[in-house]
Assembly symmetry: C2
């Protein structure tokens, strides 16, 4: 038998699905009437009787509107695109959740496409442009662009064709609106918490000092100290790799540098992974948390913070809220409404656990 004479059975059998026309026939009315009822236009004049007849027919036939056809006819798609390296590196996956939930509430769909901004010179160079291109082919009404960690990014040109909002990053060369965490306020609230617990000698385990997170959090710490009439002692700030090992090593340095009476009584670790390492350094020296040394982290990586012993008090990055706010901002933009500000700062709440 030749190939062409045996078309794929499954595909051939697949029934057409019931359309508006079927509903119309079943109800004995025109398709227009059905359309009017289903999209319940206020100024359509359909008698209550035929209206229920139509609704009954919809039920009886199990009619399901065809979103694609609707989009084509109405020239609106109800879709947003989300371009993100989060798919690649699920560190900040809560951004997806926040955006997804909000989109669902707004009865919109999120088309998620992979990015690779992180290694824009690597083998995947161009993936991102292709992704945006694909999203535009789907006629998304707007774009969200999310990064795994707070930084400046370069968004491809093609993103300019529809409203675009950046999440957890900011436009390094343009004016695209963005949603970012308020790192400074976060640093402030962390140190305020330590001060409130009576600590005045606070060691700070810093990240790479040039990234926005480090700059902001350190500045916040400085502010909190200033309010208490204290100054930030540069000697008490040590940097390390943003890992548990880095935190361990940095904590060792700072703990061993001073005689006991001068030793800091609290450590502000600029991320939770480093706090995890600091825990080991502290415990190794026979010191207790928070009795001898209080520890406060940043990021609220649940898997770490909630499972360290004692559980880690930390400042949360508001990923979900940023995701939701991104969708809301995009909704405003696509509706032609003005947005509040080019850069929206989202609060980083303190999560009290047991390490302070």
């Amino acid at each position: 038998m030749a190939k062409s004479t045996t078309p794929n059975k499954a595909a051939a059998v697949r029934q057409r699905g019931v359309t508006m026309n079927d509903v119309a026939k079943h109800a004995g009315v025109s398709r227009t009437a059905v359309s009017f009822v289903l999209s319940n236009r206020e100024n359509a004049s359909i008698s209550e009787e035929t209206r229920t007849r139509i609704n009954d027919a919809v039920q009886a036939l199990g009619y399901r509107p065809n979103a694609g056809a609707r989009a084509l006819a109405s020239q609106r798609s109800d879709w947003y695109g989300l371009v993100t390296e989060i798919v690649t590196a699920p560190f900040a996956v809560d951004i997806i959740k926040g955006a997804q939930d909000q989109a669902w509430l707004d009865r919109r769909f999120l088309l998620i496409a992979p990015s690779d901004q992180a290694d824009a010179v690597g083998p995947n160079k161009g993936l991102e442009d292709a992704a945006i291109e694909k999203l535009l082919e789907q006629r998304v009404e707007g774009l969200l662009y999310a990064a795994t960690f707070h930084r400046g990014v370069h968004v491809p040109q093609s993103a300019n064709e529809v409203p675009t909002v950046l999440i957890n990053c900011f436009d390094a060369d343009g004016k695209l609106p963005s949603i970012v965490p308020d790192e400074r306020a976060g640093g402030r609230v962390a140190v305020e918490r330590l001060l409130q617990a009576g600590h005045t000698r606070i060691g700070i385990i810093n990240l790479d000092p040039v990234i926005p997170a480090a700059v902001g959090r350190l500045e916040g710490a400085r502010e909190a100290l200033a309010v208490a009439g204290l100054e930030l002692d540069p000697e008490l700030v040590v940097s390390g790799y943003a890992t548990a090992d880095g935190g361990y090593e940095a904590a060792c340095r700072i703990l061993d540098r001073y005689p006991q009476q001068d030793r800091p009584t609290a450590l502000f670790c600029l991320n939770d992974r480093m706090a995890m390492g600091a825990y080991d350094a502290i415990k190794e020296r026979g010191l207790t948390i928070p009795g001898d040394i209080a520890v406060i982290g940043f990021d609220n990586q649940e898997l770490i913070a909630a499972y360290l012993r004692p559980k880690l008090t930390t400042v949360a990055l508001p990923f979900q809220k940023m995701g939701a706010l991104g969708v809301q901002t995009l909704a405003a933009l696509t509706a032609g409404q003005p947005i509040i500000a080019d850069q929206q700062l989202v609060d980083c709440p303190l999560l009290e656990r047991s390490s302070v």
Copy 2:
């Protein structure tokens, strides 16, 4: 000014976008010719010259095909739906990544919709059905249904309208094909590794004994021991809550139960969080890892396993591979091809780090 007289400016200005007709005019050919060239049909007879003229016009005008219209006309959508509570609880987010990557390779889009199987009697009851309904309205060609942890699930009826594949879960009442981790092989390889390192007294920190993960992993452990001529000593198996605290508590019990010479020299923790707690119990007793006690985990939760000190040797749950395999299986189903098996077991590889 009345509202109706000032229609939304942004919406009004939004240009129509260039269509195939525009390309055709620009190239001086019919729209059909353009369609033939763009979907490069083999049996279309278009001269090389007009072909390039059309391609040039596409470039010049920046034409971008309308995926929705194409789907409508061709009756195929290139879309899969992914229903998952993972969006709600990002524990196994790598399933999304695996599926997403594979879908991207296959030039398909993943429409992700939230589920809430986990609290099907809670306030969100019905969310899942609504989600599937929405996906079907988008005319997805198939459905993926993913769970955060390996278990039996009940998939809504409506999922039967298109090919459906379950990931990290199995159909409790039907015959839907599923992709699940090979827990038993995982348990086996973990204990084999410990045996190979010379341990014969192995403590097992168990999960809730009724869940598939516990059943399978324990069975695998039993098999590995049997091969070595050993039996599983029920006294060496203790259960606890699947948390760090639960692991700590269980480890304490098992470590304190025996005099030193009878104490197990290795612990197989059935998940990484419990291993995290076990670490604390071990260190607290002045014992070293892996010198005095070797520890092996399960799940490979990166944030824990890669950052514990020493880094945790563990068995990985193949989330990404399961996601990819789900998409591949769905592709086979929608193409009408037979699938390999109703239930595909995916290998759980051992990740060597430093705790054995």
